[in-house]
């Protein structure tokens, strides 16, 4: 034995314990293991793997365990098992939990900084565990990559096997076709060769794939099932690939845009920017967008009160600097597509306009400030104004904007999301805003730690102002502007992912709808010069039924074509002449004997197991899937499906019987 042979033997020995149960198991991991056993080299069934392992396997394992290659194979098989894939998928979900519980650097660096301040001892540990950048963490990548490897490792060998399976010719016919789940027989005056030729012609005409041999014809149909399977697996790989493509070359960004303002698709202009790993700022599509108006309408009465009816953002945009200006009405689910980048309308709100004059009489702020809705139904919004360069004190304001303000017994609230009675109330602070230290802070929060409360305003209507005590200045509420929030996404993997998804679905449907089925014909010359024609049929995963009908129809047609009489061995009954019973098949006698005594419903089944479930049978069927092998390898245990299938030919035979009596 060469070293390579020894390795192969050992590898087979490793496979054997898993391959053996696979033969009996219909679904699940067992079936998968058998598939891998095939994919990894020795072509043939799991059952064969077992027998091949027997001679060498014992010595292989006696010589000190699995060996490096064995361990590698074992590891690979564990990694690519369905169970591992499911565990990894679960881990992936689990691993993304900290991403939504803890602040993330890529999304909100300011919150991370704040977390450092509030948890000075815990934060460095969390940071070390990459919990502030979960999606970029090595351990997260490890899970993702293992999952990818697991899926690819499962799908690729299967794909290769499916290609082989789809190109295969039907196997040679088993020696005793009566053992198959569906069988029929009749006697004809035609010579065996003639009968076979016409049977092959008929099956070929029905687009069966054929193989002929000495005294037999094998036919197989339903290869489209393999094509569907193949399509599904390839599409699955393409889907994974597309998703990766989007993550590497795509980007995703958000931008809040106040009416009357504009921005360009460049990193400094984006509030949140998630570039793919290979995306540089120069890869961003150089468009620019201005917001020229925004309208929103809401249901103003009834149970749907406050529900939005429509949004419309009037945009003008340029695809590139200096290009022509175009207009677009942006609505929900009607993204603007520029240069392969989609711009979605994902939110809106109000930006009250303020003018802040400091203690020296200079205007230090004059413009809108975006407030963020805290109540989505009434659009009650909160925001802050920071005036770090006011003199003599830095000023800060925390404000609430009420689109339709209503005084509910001293408590001010908003009744409606549209701005019908807009009011702003402000709380003013002076002191240190903490902005000069260089530590980034959110523009939407006010850190009042080093500030002193100055005043709280009454609800201000447009044009009203609040004079601040201590000579700190004045703040005036001038009105409001709407703002919209935009999601900008570029995902080059989107279309491929959609196509792969659809292809996977189509492949899956195809593989569910099409049955792979085999029909075998054997013609045996009898002593009296007639020919006995035996038909056997086998369908894979015939859960939907239908094969027995198809088989019965085929048998009927063939018999009619050959002007056949009912076969003696199968259902001649007590009255049948003994001479016609004698067929060359070795089991025929046995079966006849059995059938004479057995109830019609169980005909044949009980006898199958004891005979020689010969190599022939195994050879003929070894490339069928595990499910079929499940039926055939354990024939002694009658299965509901098998009984049901034999049932129909029985009926057929009975019908044939009666027609003969008429003759």
């Amino acid at each position: 034995m060469t070293a390579a042979e020894q390795d192969a033997t050992r590898a087979r020995a490793v496979r054997a314990p898993e391959a053996a149960p696979a033969a009996g198991q219909a679904r699940g991991s067992g079936a998968r293991a058998a598939g891998q056993a095939r994919g990894s080299g020795a072509r043939g069934s799991g059952a064969r793997g077992v027998s091949a392992a027997r001679p060498g396997g014992g010595s292989g394992s006696r010589h000190g365990g699995l060996g490096l290659l064995g361990w590698l194979r074992w590891t690979w098989r564990q990694l690519t098992s369905m169970r591992t894939a499911l565990i990894l998928l679960f881990l992936l979900a689990l691993a993304s939990v900290p991403g939504s519980v803890l602040p993330q650097e890529g999304i909100d660096p300011a919150a991370v900084t704040q977390y450092y301040q509030s948890h000075p001892s815990l934060a460095p540990i969390l940071s070390r565990l990459s919990l502030f950048s979960v999606f970029a963490a090595p351990w997260f990548a490890a899970i993702y990559l293992l999952l990818f490897a697991s899926l690819a490792g499962c799908v690729l060998p299967r794909t290769i096997r499916l290609v082989g399976s789809a190109r295969q010719k039907p196997p040679r016919a088993p020696s005793n076709l009566r053992r198959l789940p569906a069988s029929a027989s009749y006697v004809t005056e035609l010579a065996p060769a003639e009968a076979l030729t016409s049977a092959a012609g008929m099956l070929g005409g029905r687009r069966f794939r054929l193989q002929t041999g000495d005294g037999w014809v094998s036919a197989e149909k339903g290869y489209l099932r393999e094509v569907g399977n193949l399509l599904f697996h390839i599409a699955l790989l393409a889907l994974l690939f597309s998703v990766g493509l989007g993550g590497i070359f795509g980007y995703k960004a958000n931008r809040l845009l106040i009416n009357g303002q504009g921005f360009a698709d460049t990193p400094t202009a984006l509030d949140v920017f998630h570039p793919g790993r290979l995306v540089t700022p120069g890869d961003l599509a150089p468009f620019s967008i201005n917001l020229n108006g925004f309208t929103a309408s809401y249901v103003s009465s009834g149970p749907q009160l406050d529900q939005p009816i429509s949004y419309n953002a009037a945009l003008s945009y340029q695809s590139e600097p200096g290009g022509p200006t175009r207009h677009y009405d942006l609505r929900v689910n009607h993204p603007l597509v520029v240069d392969g980048v989609s711009v979605y309308l994902i939110g809106h709100g109000y930006a009250p306009v303020f003018k802040v004059t400091d203690g020296t009489g200079k205007v230090r702020w004059d413009g809108p400030v975006a407030f963020i809705p805290v109540d989505q139904t009434t659009l009650t919004s909160e925001g802050v104004i920071k005036v770090p360069d006011a003199k003599p004190y830095q000023l800060g304001f925390a404000g609430v904007f009420l689109p339709t303000a209503y005084d509910n017994g001293g408590q001010l609230e908003s009744l409606f999301p549209a701005a019908q009675n807009p009011r702003v109330s402000l709380v003013a602070y002076k002191g240190n805003l903490g902005m000069n230290s260089g530590t980034p802070q959110s523009v939407y929060t006010l850190d009042t730690k080093d500030m002193k409360l100055l005043a709280t305003s009454r609800p201000l209507a447009a044009g009203q102002s609040m004079k601040l005590p201590d000579g700190a200045g004045t703040v005036t509420y001038l009105g409001y502007q709407p703002w919209i929030s935009l999601a900008i996404t570029h995902d080059p993997g989107q279309l491929p992912a959609l196509i792969s998804g659809l292809a996977a679905l189509a492949g899956l449907i195809l593989s569910f709808l099409v049955r792979r089925r085999r029909v075998f014909v054997r013609a045996v010359p009898a002593a009296d010069g007639t020919t006995e024609v035996v038909l056997g049929g086998l369908a894979r995963s015939d859960a939907a039924g239908g094969f027995d009908t198809e088989f019965a129809e085929l048998a009927r047609l063939l018999r009619a074509e050959h002007a056949g009489r009912p076969g003696p061995a199968s259902d001649a009954g007590p009255a049948a002449p003994a001479g016609e019973d004698v067929a060359s098949a070795d089991m025929a006698g046995e079966e006849t004997a059995d059938e004479h005594t057995a109830d019609d419903d169980t005909v044949g089944e009980g006898t199958v197991g004891e005979g020689t479930v010969g190599d022939d049978t195994a050879d003929g069927l070894d490339d069928l899937d595990d499910q079929e092998r499940g039926v055939l390898a354990v024939p002694a245990a009658p299965q509901a499906g098998a009984v049901a299938v034999t049932d129909k030919p029985e009926t057929l035979r009975r019908r044939a019987d009666s027609s003969r009596e008429e003759v």
Binding site: D108, P109, A110, T113, S133, F135, A136, A137, F140, A141, Y144, F148, V243, G244, G246, G247, I248, K252, N254, L256, Q261, F263, A264, D265, T266, P267, T268, A269, D271, V272, F273, P275, G276, R277, P281, G282, L284, S288, P308, P321, V332, I346, G349, W365, D366, I372, Q376, D389, M435, N436, G438, P440, Q441, S442, V443, Y444, S485, A487, T489, D491
Partner: protein, 201 residues
Amino acid sequence: MSPTQHSPVRAVLSAAAAAFAVLAVAGCDGGSIAADVPQSNGQSFVGHSYESTFYAADHRPVAPHVSGTTLTGQKLSLAAYKGDTVVLNFWGSWCDPCRSEAPALGTLARQLQPDHVRFLGIDIRDQPDSALAFMQTFNVGYPSLSDPSDEIALEFHSTVPPAAIPTTLVIDKDGRIAARIFGASTYAELKGLIDKVADLT
């Protein structure tokens, strides 16, 4: 936008992770409105300098044509500074790191004026009153172009786009971009780069 630098191995690993992150959030595009407003920092800037790059003389991209209106209302073009070394600083009065680097920039601008080093600010996403107040606070003597809609930032699209605020570019006498700092510059760091670009000793 993460301010940390990644090793190549980690970068590769996280590529796949980023792919999944995108997958995880990609499903909600264009869904219900008002559900996704920026809850966070809102405007992108970086806390501290995390990357400075110097371009060798033969690898310098030509700076784009930059012109506009200053915060005080004058027309100004970068071309007017041709022959001088120019320090271009992208900033905003709302940006905390910009406030921390402003004194260093103001000081350098005054010190290096005799050496033909000119400073020019690009005021991003700002409001003129607060921007002028910023310049007064930090005694910034050099002019700034107002760029509320990022038009000037976009001009750098195909060369060295400012990836964050603040970003500081050093442009050599021939109008080519010679150095770049992302994040708040320090006096020493920026001085070192300018000296290298302008050949000051």
